[in-house]
């Protein structure tokens, strides 16, 4: 599978601060790739560097086969970009905004634009400045999906949106997924989980991991071990068993490399006699919190 976005050793430094360090990432074509991380982790810097809004300090990125530093009008005809902080031409009405952008895109699809306007319930005659935050995001999204982009890059599109609008935006994205590769950064893990196919976790400017959503869900388990008799946590403690908690006869931790019976064997080897081992699947949010709090690289 080809990569829609590929970065290698990408770094960005702002004066004395390393915003991005040695970021190597592949976003497969056709995927919905979610880049998650805490505030200030480097998500927006990654996206802006990839989109040629910021110049990388070192390393390089290619977007749809073009060096990110060479991205120009021809490439942007196939790329959509929506950001929560994007400054829009507020004086334009929604309808004029779409009409204005149309000639820029050879693949602009009027029917698709109309469909998106209806789907997002956008008032065509209202100025962008008079739209709510959610409406603005939807207008930006409609203007970016109407030309069937090969790549859609979204920087925190759900920030501050109410659940209803969030669902509408996600529906719009799901409709386009497949023909369009979606690269999205977000805090909204519950929403991301519902449609992302791939996930990357970034912390302090470094990519901690990037993999398929299914693989991530499969390898993270919240494990509860009921011991035959109370005992302290054994040492040495495996570094991929995160956030251990012990009560007299129960030990809980997050296994970041769950392998079914393999993991059970490891537990038995370490603890000796155990009464019960239970492994619970984890939601993305729980995985994210575990990783953020443990500071582990897995």
């Amino acid at each position: 599978m080809h990569s829609a976005i590929s970065t290698s050793g990408l770094a960005k430094r702002f004066r004395r601060m390393d915003a991005l360090r040695d970021l190597t990432l592949e976003v497969p074509e056709g995927s919905v790739f979610a880049l998650v991380g805490t505030n200030g982790a480097g998500k927006t810097t990654t996206i802006k560097t990839v989109m040629n809004i910021l110049k990388p300090t070192s390393g390089h990125a290619t977007v749809l086969g073009t060096d990110s530093r060479q991205l120009g009008p021809r490439q942007f005809e196939r790329i959509g970009y929506v950001s929560e902080n994007q400054e829009m031409p507020d004086w334009m009405t929604v309808g004029y905004f779409l009409d204005y952008l149309k000639p820029f895109y050879p693949a602009w699809d009027d029917a698709r634009a109309d469909e998106l306007v209806k789907q997002f319930q956008l008032p065509r005659d209202r100025r962008l400045r008079h739209l709510s935050r959610g409406m603005r995001i939807k207008a930006a999204l409609a203007s970016s999906l109407a030309y069937h982009p090969r790549l859609l890059v979204l920087d925190e599109p759900f920030g501050g949106l109410d659940p209803l609008v969030r669902d509408e935006v996600i529906e719009g994205l799901i409709d386009s997924a497949g023909e369009t590769t979606i690269f999205i950064s977000s805090h909204d893990l519950a929403e991301i989980e519902s449609f992302a196919t791939h996930i990357g976790y970034i912390a302090e400017g470094q990519l901690q991991f990037a993999e398929e959503m299914a693989s991530l869900s499969a390898r993270f388990r919240e494990v509860e071990v009921t011991l035959a008799q109370p005992e302290a946590l054994p040492a040495p403690w495996p570094d991929h068993w995160l956030r251990p908690e012990a009560s007299p006869a129960v030990v809980r931790f997050v296994e970041s490399r769950f392998e079914g019976t393999g993991t059970q064997d490891k537990i038995r080897n370490l603890f000796g006699e155990v009464k019960e081992i239970t492994a619970y699947p984890m939601a993305l949010r729980a995985i994210f919190v575990t990783l953020a709090k443990s500071g582990a690289r897995v």
């Binding site: 009008p73 970009y81 400054e87």
Partner: protein, 474 residues
Amino acid sequence: MKQAIHIFKKDLRYLWREIFIVLLLAFMFSYSAKLSRIELNGPVGFVFLLASCWMIARLIQAEMLVGDNQFWITRPYSWSSLFGARIAFIFTFVQIPILLMQLAILIGASFPLWSNVPGLLWTQLLFWICMSFPLAALASATSGLVPLVLTILVVPVAGLAVELYFPFVGLELGTALGPLEWIKDTVAYFGAAVIAGVDLYFQYRKRATIFSRVFLGGATALVWAAYICLPWSIAFGVQSRLGREGDDLSSLRLRLAEHLPQFEGHRIYSPNLTRVPLRLSVDGLPSGDDVRGDAIDLQILFFGGRVAALKRVGLDKVTIQGNNFDVIVEPNRPLLPVEYDAPVRIRGSIYLTVFGNTRRRSIPMDKKPVNVIDSLQCFLAGLPAKQYLCRAPFRWPAGIVSAAFSENNVRPLGRVVSYSPFPASLSLNPVEVRAPFGTPSLGTDVTISIKEPLAHIRRDFEFTGIQIANSDAR
């Protein structure tokens, strides 16, 4: 091209209010010019320029080049189309209105059009490089209208600070070059064009805001320094090269008056007063020609090695006694008796312009403007008509213009404005109006004469053995 037109149409829609105001002011300015034959530089022209600048700033910042959150930077905008659309807009709604305004004023004043085409085109160029381009460059490097206005205010504030803290610069700044001011202006215009051009290119092509700001600030400071510090000797050198001295001026001689002139109430030697008046006479001028003293650079070398210097632009001519120019040299401390009594050496250079090839035309005094010579028009103005005025398109003639109301009542019409070879100066008003000095008694006819500048010359001189004590002041 297609994209540029598309962006242009969008800007038209975005800035329709500003366009309306600018066009209305342009119409008002032209109309006020039609009503008033005398003074066209009213507030309307100023407001028009202000409104135009505001529109240019809003236009450039409609697609802001500073920052990384603008919607358009990740859209398929071609920089050349965006830049082209901007240029087309400014051309259509700022430059063309200026052209039409000036055209309307010239037509209204019955000036011949064909001969004024160079003036119209030159004014267009000047407004591009002195207003539209620099403002567009500043707007492209600032992140909003407030920072833009503050940046514009930095220039006069910096100038004031320099004047206050570096008075020597202030003195240079105050040294106007008179008719040669155009040379300094040309340096500024050329600098503004280059700075704005480079800045706009980099901002539109690369969005290199930091480079753009550093370049704008640095290059502007350099050009400003070149403007205020331009040695006037260089300017006069340039002017002398432009106006070559003809063979018939080889007989022109310079001499120091035998008796130094007396200046009423001033004694040359006294314990508290140090003033040395000198009179330079120009002889050998062809009959009918006139001479103007543009500048002098002079040194008096006293006994004992002390030097007193004078640099002055614009020399007063003592018209009663031929072509004499009086100057006063002020040593930095009172003369010692030995310096006063011993002979001194005076050396230096004088820059002169010779005028000749007089053309005259007698015309009736009329309220209706009468074409005289070289597009010059003269007429009676005021209610009741009691003032005689002359006007010229774009630039007052570079020669000496005078009006003879009777044989003994010849009045010059202002000083020579500029020796510039260019057809116009930077002004919205394409008509320059002048009145004769004094209050002439008005008859029925007047003879207007123009003496053309024939040559700009420099004469170096050295006079030795001059006795300051010979002065009539003793």
